[in-house]
Symmetry: C2
Subunit: 259 residues, 2 copies
């Protein structure tokens, strides 16, 4: 499918390469920054680097907006495409409606559920792609394209996408913060940052193989009040972390009542 | 070094195999359960299965107590060993003093910082081993043994071991609980359990390569109050999770103030 990319960041970069490798032709790459659009167009040759969002004469059927969430609205208001073209954004948190103002276009969401770094190769085939569209026909086209690059293609309605985002905040954003607190605690004791890494990796691996609640370990699930008190004592000069410790211990104990 | 194992659980199993592969002779395996001691003794042949904790005539210099934390005290009170033998436990949370009542013995801690499953092979060489002993000579012997099976051998004093345990509660126990909440949220929306797994794995991998606070993402670090309010609304029937969401968002925002 002839595709134009709007954006030249990590998502555009990896998605563009995956689409090209699957046999889709990348017709053009837009970015307001000359160096960025030219670099990505070169990688995706024979793609053309373009500097205008008036893309009405572009020979493409699919336009992929892969820009930061905050920039989607301004891109959408300036973008012009051929009649009947499909336009998707790649954001997990923005509504389909963010694209509804574009004349003659069929809007959709094409959200790869992964975090990308430019320097790191990714295996797109295992990355879930979440799709949304206003009509069945557009959805079918997007499903066709998505399934050429990933084995995990899901259609999700707006409510499910919101709940998924909420679940990701717990599993990724909050988890990352706890790993940061843990790293601080190691540093306070002059212990090496890497000391817990094998244990962390094994914890995550186990939590993926079984329901995490079934493999919960630690003082809270054992209702070991002595250790809990000792830990709260160690945190006496860090009252916010003390609160986090207390609340998460309570949540674990509500989930796993004393036998 | 001639070694006797007290216990036949996951730690005894994996540690026994690692010691044997490194050239140490496992002389005997004790467990109160005949089937357990015999199974492990067979794996560690020519080790003998023994059913008594009077091990004074056993030809071993090192006795490794690898039993559940709650059983250490009763094992220690019954155990008898040759004069001058080194006895270690393998617990992260129990003090060295748990072994101080054993006549004529030199107590120590030999704590492999990992969670083990019997069915899963482990590469012991990457597992940190934390050592503690009362005297320098005992510590040196333990360092010699530990370094034959692991590249990551650390001596830690009791205070550091406590802080390490606290850090592990944040990085492993609490993280696992959040992954459980996330899994529940997916299930509530009838989304597949596996959907977030590539993103979770990548989040953890990144958090190990850089300080987690430097790669924090999500609505809290962006101070995106609209999304935060929407998420709290989605959690309105789960007040405890709502509290967890609020407190962790606040902790993230304290760490990353609005610019």
């Amino acid at each position: 499918m002839k595709t134009t990319l709007i954006g030249s960041g990590n998502v555009a970069w990896h998605l563009g390469k995956a689409l090209q490798q699957a046999g889709h032709e990348i017709v053009a790459v837009y970015s307001p920054t000359a160096a960025h659009r030219e670099a990505l167009a070169e990688v995706l040759a024979p793609a053309k680097a373009v500097d205008s969002l008036d893309l009405r004469t572009t020979d493409a059927e699919l336009f992929v907006i892969a820009v930061p969430d905050a920039a989607i609205a301004s891109v959408a208001s300036a973008l012009q495409v051929p009649e009947g073209a499909i336009i998707v954004h790649t954001s997990g948190s923005q509504p389909l409606a963010a694209l509804q103002g574009i004349a003659g276009a069929r809007p959709g969401v094409f959200y790869p559920l992964q975090t990308f770094s430019k320097s790191k190769a990714v295996d797109f085939s295992t990355i879930p792609i979440l799709l949304e569209a206003e009509d069945k026909q557009t959805l079918q086209v997007l499903q066709g394209v998505a399934s050429t690059i990933s084995k995990e293609v899901h259609q999700v309605d707006p409510n499910k996408r919101k709940q998924l985002h909420l679940a990701a905040v717990f599993a990724c954003n909050f988890t990352n913060h706890l790993l940061g607190i843990s790293r601080q605690l190691l540093q306070q004791a002059a212990l090496p940052d890497t000391l817990l890494q094998p244990l962390i990796q094994e914890t995550i691996t186990k939590a993926m193989q079984q329901h995490p609640f079934q493999v919960q370990t630690g003082p809270a699930v054992r209702h070991d009040q002595n250790v809990i008190e000792e830990h709260l004592q160690l945190l006496q000069n860090q009252p916010l972390y003390q609160q986090v410790y207390q609340l998460l211990s309570r949540s674990i104990q509500v989930q796993h009542p004393k036998k």
